[in-house]
């Protein structure tokens, strides 16, 4: 055979698999960052609901991984497609974290769609306007809000600490009974450290809503030094789930956790019913996840309909609050009317709405946030 013919055969063989995809029905590509529970939510709850309403559409859900890394992958993909001047991008709807959401808006990757959908009016949280210092008004719809708090075993601890100061005293009296996962093994630890800086470095308001100014970090090294001392009296856990695991096995008696994970594990009986939550002063951070749609989504109309469905009061009540124990993304009053009193009460059983508004903080803006993590690496763990 001639070399040319061979080349043609090889080329045809390698292209053939790519051509099959062209004949399918309309596919709506949804990429979701976040833990497995979030991907499950989109895949097993939202997607079938949407497909029911649009029989000719197939929703293709892709999980991109937990934490900011997951959002970062979505960002990289969109950014690459923008750089390659593609006419349409292959993600229609994305679920991203607050930090990346802001960056994607700055880089013009997202469509300003909130006024196009009915449910856009139901949003009331400040995080829908401002994502860690970036104005995102109109570009994002909060999917839910999640919060970190301190979980403790009430069978052994009658008077849980109410503030970081009390927690420090408590760990001195009860060495190794408090556990957290550092900053490399999951966001609950990062959140605990951020709360530490809010308490002993600079207050949450300065770090999450004013422009970056390195001078604000003047007294951080003292805070980090104290944290290094504090770390001597505690146990390190292997991750967000690791903290809950160790709480369950009675290896630690207190530790920072994500509220939604805590409730889900409690529902499934994976942690004892005596576990309770306390949101300590001056506050710990929480964050929303955002629904966004890229500027050049292949199916912009369907994408908007999908997000409208996902942020409708019924879905927020049934899916977000009842099934997954998250705080709703749209205004809570619109969701409350859709739920029975018991479910609603359960959501606020451990942390009262007033505590939540007093001590539920945002994460700091990106440059401060990076400085906190790097400061920890440099001064606490090194």
């Amino acid at each position: 055979m001639l070399a040319k013919t061979k080349f043609a055969v090889l080329a045809t063989l390698s292209i053939a698999p790519l051509m099959n995809a062209a004949h399918a029905e309309t596919v709506l590509n949804v990429a979701s960052a976040g833990g497995q529970n979030m991907v499950d939510y989109v895949k097993t709850y939202l997607a079938p609901k949407f497909e029911e309403m649009h029989p000719d559409v197939k929703v293709n859900v892709v999980g991109t991984g937990p934490g900011d890394a997951g959002s970062h992958k979505i960002y990289e993909k969109l950014s690459a497609q923008k750089g390659a001047n593609k006419a349409t991008w292959d993600i229609d709807v994305a679920v991203v974290h607050q930090k990346m959401g802001g960056e994607m808006v700055t880089e013009d990757l997202l469509a300003k769609y909130r006024n196009d959908i009915e449910t856009g009016k139901l949003v009331s949280r400040s995080s829908a306007e401002n994502a860690l210092g970036t104005n995102v008004s109109g570009y994002v719809m909060p999917m839910f809000h999640s919060q970190t708090a301190i979980a403790y075993n009430s069978a052994f601890i009658k008077n849980p600490p109410k503030s970081y100061d009390e927690l420090v005293t408590w760990t001195e009296k009860n060495p190794k009974a408090f556990g957290y996962n550092g900053i490399k093994n999951g966001m609950s630890g990062v959140s605990f450290v951020t709360g530490w800086i809010y308490a002993y470095g600079s207050d949450a308001k300065t770090l999450s809503s004013t422009p970056y100014n390195k001078a604000n970090e003047a007294n951080w090294s003292k805070a980090f030094k104290e944290l290094k001392e504090f770390n001597k009296n505690i146990t390190f856990t292997p991750g967000n789930a690791g903290t809950l695991d160790m709480l369950n096995r009675g290896e630690i008696f207190m530790g920072p956790v994500w509220v939604d994970m805590f409730y889900s594990w409690k529902d499934q009986g994976k942690i004892p019913p005596t576990m309770k939550l306390s949101l300590i002063a001056p506050g710990m951070p929480g964050q929303p996840m955002y629904y966004v749609t890229p500027t050049k989504a292949a199916h912009p109309e369907l994408a908007r309909e999908f997000i409208a469905l996902a942020t409708s009061p019924e879905v927020q009540a049934e899916g977000i609050v009842k099934r997954f124990n998250w705080y709703p993304g749209i205004d809570a009053d619109h969701v409350k009317s859709q739920l029975d009193a018991a479910t609603w009460k359960k959501l606020f059983a451990e942390i009262t709405p007033s505590d939540l508004s007093k001590y539920g903080k945002s994460f700091p803006i990106a440059p401060y946030f990076n400085d906190i993590k790097e400061g920890y690496e440099q001064q606490v763990s090194n």
């Binding site: 970062h72 490399k184 292997p238 991750g239 160790m246 096995r249 993590k373 690496e377």
Partner: protein
């Protein structure tokens, strides 16, 4: 003849292109990004930062890997010697089956398994407590550096024993019988006749295990707690948390250097051996 050469080139092309695109290009790209700034000028800034933040972790990684390799060498020599030299054939076949099991279990599953097994109130300690050998107060958690070593050894043991016992079984049986006839004990046969001959194989097994251990992310993330941690976890953190590929690649460069140092040592050793016999 000309025709034959083009033929074989065509055969090699797909594999060569795969290697170039998916291995060589990313490798050189990551090395390049470790030592250059955005504008392409050379810099040591990323390496300096990597060392200032993670010097402890680099040492920790080397210590963990070395310790694991030593334990691995001792255990795999013992097991393969038992398999080859033991007179109890049925016991040996059982052992042969058992030691192979970890080959089929991925690292992440191993890590999850060890996490529940080695924890303070985990399966192992609970078994000790239930059998009355310990009280719940005496138990300690093996999650941490000991757990990482245990997991690495457990997982890599199968691989290195497989290589080593194969090499031992392939040795000339006459030498061993001759030594036995002359009254050598099994231990003496192992150390004086078998080990010197399988030394290159042991080297391959250990070098390959080292490279594997350096690259595993799931184990330090799931078993390791707090600090210090292994370099792979730092690299992941650099990328995931800061989107900072430069320092991550600088760390990659460091681990690449460690591995290539080993590879060089091993290659030199094996070339020397070959040179001596040729």
């Amino acid at each position: 003849m000309q025709n034959k050469t083009t033929h074989s080139l065509w055969l090699v092309a797909p594999a060569a292109i795969m290697v170039a695109i998916f291995f060589l290009y990313p490798l050189f790209f990551s090395l390049y990004s470790a030592v250059t700034l955005e504008d392409g000028s050379l810099t040591l800034a990323h390496l300096t930062k990597a060392f200032s933040l993670y010097s402890n972790d680099i040492l920790f990684t080397i210590a963990i890997v070395l310790a694991s390799v030593v334990v691995l060498a001792i255990l795999s020599i013992t097991i393969s010697a038992m398999i080859v030299l033991s007179p109890f054939k049925s016991l040996v076949s059982l052992l042969g089956l058992l030691y192979r099991l970890p080959l089929f279990i991925p690292f992440i599953v191993t890590a999850q398994m060890m996490r529940t097994f080695l924890a303070k109130n985990g399966l192992m300690n609970n078994a000790f407590v239930a059998s009355g050998m310990m009280t719940p107060m005496d138990t300690i958690s093996f999650l941490g550096w000991t757990g990482i070593i245990i997991t690495f050894v457990w997982k890599q043991l199968a691989f290195s024993t497989l290589l080593l016992s194969g090499a031992m079984a392939a040795l000339d049986q006459n030498q061993i019988r001759a030594a036995q006839n002359l009254g050598a004990s099994r231990v003496r046969i192992l150390f004086h006749i078998m080990l010197p001959q399988v030394f290159p194989t042991l080297g391959v097994a250990l070098v390959l295990s080292t490279v594997t251990m350096m690259s595993v992310l799931s184990v330090p993330l799931m078993i390791g707690t707090g600090t210090p941690t292994m370099m792979s976890a730092d690299m992941a953190f650099r990328v995931n948390s800061y989107g900072d590929y430069n320092v991550a690649n600088a760390l990659g460069l460091v681990s690449y250097l460690i591995c290539s140092g080993l590879a060089w040592f091993y290659l030199r050793q094996s070339l020397k051996d070959k040179g001596a016999t040729a």
